[in-house]
């Protein structure tokens, strides 16, 4: 048994450590996922003016600040009792900002953070087994996805074409959010009661222009085809089966014309998505399309016991066509992205936020029991000797808490949302895997779901911009601080990485007595709970083979690419996940006094 530890896992946000045990067959048999930083941001919110929350909570994460701003605003609007009064055009504006941030985050993850793993030198050797075609494919991958400052065998590799272009698109996406939100990261517009800025007709024009530029990138590089054709035949397919058939037929055409020419370039019609869906999957690439080699990502990142996993989505995007306001208890029912809890056997259940709990038996906090965020109290260990990441799975090993829904660890993110909204391509591919003896959920489907969500959102975005936004509408409602006296609020929303919840309570002086955030990566990178059940990333790692393409060329513990693919596919964001602890103010004298023992 060999211990293989990744620390730090780079190309993510924040400090993340994965410690694994690998057996003599190169299979991971145990895994611990650790967040390596404690900041205490929720604690900073206590005894402050609650209105500041939408600014302060964004400082948890510079990658998804808009999601924190909106979730916080949702919680504040519930707290102030004005959730149903927020004007429609403010909500449309928030939808636009959130969709831009989600597309930006997905594109960054896919291109700048995740795809560079496919140009690991181990794959040069794997692809070399497929002779000329393999060599051509390897060159094409390097040409597209090589990251910055990259060397193989001492030779400098220039950054990939789409890698560089994706960063430029990211800049454009940030600029387009800033256009209506002041600046990015850390946007200024989303506040309690609405937004601070009325987008003008000129802004709508600019946003539309940005949109067409973005679409140009996605069609030219990401898809390699017209996006409407793609979505008509996948997202809007008559059945999940039809969606998969369309994709396979399209790939068959591409493959047949390239097999003799060995040309897998953009000009031969190969979008980045085409390469990913063909080469990523053993089932689709090798078995169905007959290619000699693949990354076999559909063999990795699977869950072995459906009883120990669920999929959770809170829902996102206000239903602006059908009335105003955010309803904390009904949210996600009529939203574009749906709220749902889906069991490990893919049974769909109604979501109820009161079933969310967190506990700390394996986290560097003191305290006991599963507590709903309204009741959660935690306290960091204060003795430096207690902060030790080298213990086993029985010890405390992370700054992340263990959130559970109805007692079950949950995967959150694009795949949970695509299942919740019954997206045909995603569910169709899942059925295809399951029918062919593959695990229904795996690293491959996680990546495809993210790309598909990006494309679906783009289309929805232009509708919000050009049809739903009325510059002469209302954009905010006033509040009175006394409305926050002895109150509480819940904000539910979806960040790019998944279900994001903020819970707030205030005292008789209308100041914050408790603020609690349960964020996407805390769900995905959760440690074990008191029953010893591992979190989603830990479960997904266990059973994965450690080296490239399922140990195809033998076991190489010093290049454990299997760990990288699986963990990074969740798009971990550690600054969010280790945000902190919450407390209760004990006296009413305006002093910052907390119940720390």
């Amino acid at each position: 048994m060999t211990n293989v530890t990744i620390d730090p896992l780079t190309r993510i946000e924040g400090h993340f450590r994965l410690s694994t045990e690998v057996n003599e067959n190169g299979v991971i048999t145990d895994a611990q996922s650790s967040g390596m930083l404690f900041r205490g941001i929720e604690r900073i919110l206590v005894n402050r003016d609650p209105r500041d929350a939408a600014r302060i909570t964004q400082r948890v994460c510079g990658v998804c600040p808009t999601a924190h701003a909106i979730t916080s605003a949702n919680a504040l609007e519930d707290l102030f009792g004005i959730a149903d009064q927020v004007p429609k055009d403010a909500l449309v504006t928030r939808n636009i900002m959130q969709s831009l941030n989600m597309i930006d985050s997905h594109a960054t993850h896919t291109y700048a953070l995740w795809l560079p793993d496919l140009v690991n030198p181990a794959y040069r050797d794997v692809f070399a087994t497929a002779d000329n075609m393999g060599t051509m494919l390897w060159k094409e991958l390097l040409h597209r996805f090589a990251p910055l400052s990259y060397r193989i065998d001492g030779i400098s590799i220039p950054p990939g074409q789409t890698y560089v272009n994706a960063i430029k698109e990211k800049r454009r996406l940030h600029g387009s959010i800033a256009l209506i939100a002041g600046k990015m990261p850390h946007q200024m517009s989303t506040i309690f009661g609405g937004v601070t800025y009325k987008p003008t007709v000129a802004d709508i024009g600019k946003l539309s222009y940005y949109y067409y530029q973005l679409m140009d990138f996605f069609e030219r590089y990401t898809l390699g085809m017209d996006h409407t054709t793609w979505l008509d035949n996948t997202y809007r397919a008559s059945s999940p089966q039809r969606a998969v058939e369309f994709m396979i037929e399209h790939l068959q055409e591409l493959t047949e014309s390239s097999i003799s020419s060995n040309d897998f370039s953009y000009s031969a019609g190969w979008g980045d998505t085409d390469l990913l869906v063909v080469l990523g999957s053993e089932l689709i690439g090798e078995e169905i399309l007959g290619l000699p080699v693949s990354f076999k990502l559909d063999r990795t990142g699977t869950y072995s016991d459906p009883a120990n996993i669920g999929f959770l989505s809170y829902g996102a995007y206000y239903d602006v066509e059908n009335g105003d306001g955010y309803d904390p208890l009904e949210f996600g029912k009529s939203s574009f992205l749906k709220a749902a809890f889906i069991t490990g056997s893919l049974e769909r259940k109604t979501f109820d936020h009161m079933k969310v709990t967190e506990e700390v038996s394996h986290s560097f906090y003191t305290g006991e029991g599963d507590l709903h965020p309204f009741d959660g109290d935690t306290e960091p260990v204060r003795n430096a000797d207690e902060i030790d990441y080298h213990g086993d799975s029985q010890s405390k090993y992370t700054w992340m808490k263990a959130p559970r829904y109805d007692g079950v660890p949950c995967e959150v993110g694009p795949i949970a949302r695509m299942i919740a909204m019954q997206e045909p391509l995603t569910t169709g591919l899942m059925n295809t895997f399951s029918d062919n003896g593959y695990s229904t959920v795996n690293t491959y489907i996680r990546m495809v779901a993210r790309v598909q969500e990006m494309l679906i959102l783009l289309e929805r975005l232009i509708q919000w911009v050009t049809s739903d936004l009325d510059p002469s509408g209302r954009f905010s409602v006033p509040i009175d601080m006394s409305m926050a006296k002895d109150s509480q609020g819940v904000g539910l929303w979806e960040g790019a990485r998944g279900a994001l919840g903020h819970w707030i309570k205030t005292g008789s002086d209308s100041k914050v007595t408790k603020y609690q955030m349960v964020v996407p990566t805390t769900w995905n990178a959760s440690p074990r709970d008191s029953n010893g059940i591992p979190g989603p990333i830990e479960q997904a790692l266990i059973g994965t083979k450690v080296s490239a393409a399922e140990n195809m060329l033998g076991i190489d513990n010093s290049n454990p690419i299997g760990i990288l693919h699986t963990s990074r596919a969740y798009d971990p964001c550690i600054a969010c996940a280790v945000h902190t602890i919450d407390l209760r103010q004990k006296d009413g004298k305006g002093e910052r006094v907390f119940d720390i023992v």
Binding site: T2, N3, V4, T5, I6, D7, P8, T10, E13, G14, H15, M36, L37, F38, R39, G40, R43, R48, D49, I56, R59, V60, G62, V63, P65, A112, L113, V119, P147, L148, S149, R151, K170, H174, A178, L179, A181, K183, M184, H186, M188, S189, I191, G193, G194, V195, T196, Y197, P380, N383, I387, F475, S476, P478, N557, S558, N559, A575, R592, I596
Partner: protein, 399 residues
């Protein structure tokens, strides 16, 4: 401006260079002189090690928004060698049975060790440095050691340190008031809030030249232009203080005697006494808590995200995110600034609050009061800065 566009900036002395950059804005300047900058920098081979402590990655995200040059032009074409940046590199830390595995081509820990060993690099620090609990630094770990240890090693061998964003400069959100602020004990590189005696360099006894790029996040122009100026030798890294304010911010971006308020796009409304009392209006945001009159930055001229917008233009009161002591200096954000004290002692409490002037007062009456208030506020901030700085006349930059 016209004649400056045609000036060969390579022959400019430092003072003129920085003045021109200040006058034109970094984007304009770099855009106009890009080919010359490329030519100049092709001759250099500057190594940059960029490390992340307690942060949100917002500053890296922001720097990726830079343009003319953008980050790729800066790195790729300008011969800047990014020896380490954990969001952009291929490698990660890999340990097999506790030992570092493979080589620097796959292992970021080896890559970083080798780069630090070689020395002679610019160290960019993003994020605060955990000192807690009890000076152990264990609230922030990094590849089997504390971030504090990594910072100590990296700072010792650096020729120069650029601290970017509020966390690395003054502690930022990590050092905002709470009753665990002493326990976590996060420090900026050379300051804790406004106090240089509590910076991590002082704590560790390391003496290195530092430039602070404030902001939450830092504006990409401020970062990339400062880097370019350092690389081009327009800033004397062994003695950068003449172009910095007392908080080690470049005066060219954070002018001592001018606040954001002076050039605010909504300034006209202030001068005629039109104040918004609800959000999503068009007028001055003073009554909604704007801290622009206390904020020494060029945001209102430079703006953000390629100059598309800025906070007050988007109807949001300035929250003074580049003044040392942010957040506590400017919270509550949405409360009139006269009842809080941004930037420590700079609030002039003799100014009567006009928060409750109410809608009943006529525009012209408010206008007169407000204009008087504006003058007093501006003067108070100005006077406080004047008192705070020494040898004002010897400063190279004054605007």
């Amino acid at each position: 401006m016209g004649e400056l566009e045609n000036t060969d900036f390579l022959s400019m002395d430092r003072r003129t260079f920085l003045k021109v950059v200040g006058a034109m804005g970094a984007s304009t300047f770099l855009g106009l002189h890009r080919s010359e900058i490329v030519k100049a920098l092709e001759l250099s081979n500057t190594r940059v090690i960029w490390i992340h402590g307690a942060e949100c990655t917002g500053c890296s995200e922001s720097v990726l928004n830079g343009r003319d040059p953008d980050i790729f032009q800066a790195i790729q074409k300008l011969s800047v060698d990014v020896a380490y940046h954990e969001m952009l590199i291929q490698q990660q830390g890999i340990f097999v049975d506790g030992e570092l595995a493979s080589t620097s081509e796959l292992n970021s820990e080896i890559m970083l060790e080798e780069a630090i060993e070689e020395g002679g690099y610019i160290l960019v620090v993003e994020g605060a440095i955990a000192n807690g609990p009890d000076g152990s630094g264990k609230y922030c770990m990094y590849g089997d050691h504390t971030f504090k240890e990594l910072f100590s090693k990296a700072a010792s061998n650096a020729t120069f340190i650029l601290a970017i964003g509020m966390c690395a400069t003054y502690g930022g959100i990590n050092s905002a008031n709470s009753n665990i602020v002493d326990l976590t004990d996060f420090r900026g590189v050379a300051f804790l809030r406004r106090d240089p005696s509590k910076g991590m360099l002082t704590e560790l006894g390391i003496d290195r030249p530092v430039i602070n790029i404030a902001g939450c996040p830092a504006n990409p122009d401020w970062v990339l232009l400062t880097l370019a100026a350092v690389i081009l030798g327009k800033i004397d890294i062994n003695d950068p203080d003449p172009i910095l304010d007392e908080f080690k911010r470049p005066l060219v971006f954070f002018p001592e005697d001018v606040t954001l308020h002076w050039n605010c796009p909504r300034r006209g409304y202030y001068d005629i006494g039109q104040f918004d009392t609800e959000f999503s209006g068009d007028a001055c945001l003073w009554k909604l808590g704007c801290k622009g009159p206390y904020t020494h930055s060029d945001c209102a001229l430079r703006k953000w995200n390629g100059s598309v917008n800025m906070c007050t233009q988007a109807g949001s009161p300035c929250i003074s995110c580049c003044e040392p002591g942010f957040f506590d200096n400017s919270t509550p954000f949405y409360k009139n600034a006269q009842s809080v004290a941004p930037s420590g002692g700079e609030t002039d409490r003799s100014v009567t609050s006009n928060e409750n002037n109410g809608a009943a007062t006529t525009g012209s009456a408010i206008g007169l009061g407000a204009t008087a208030g504006a003058t007093i506020i501006g003067s108070a901030a100005y006077a406080a800065r004047k008192i705070a700085k020494n040898n004002d006349d010897e400063k190279e930059m004054d605007q």
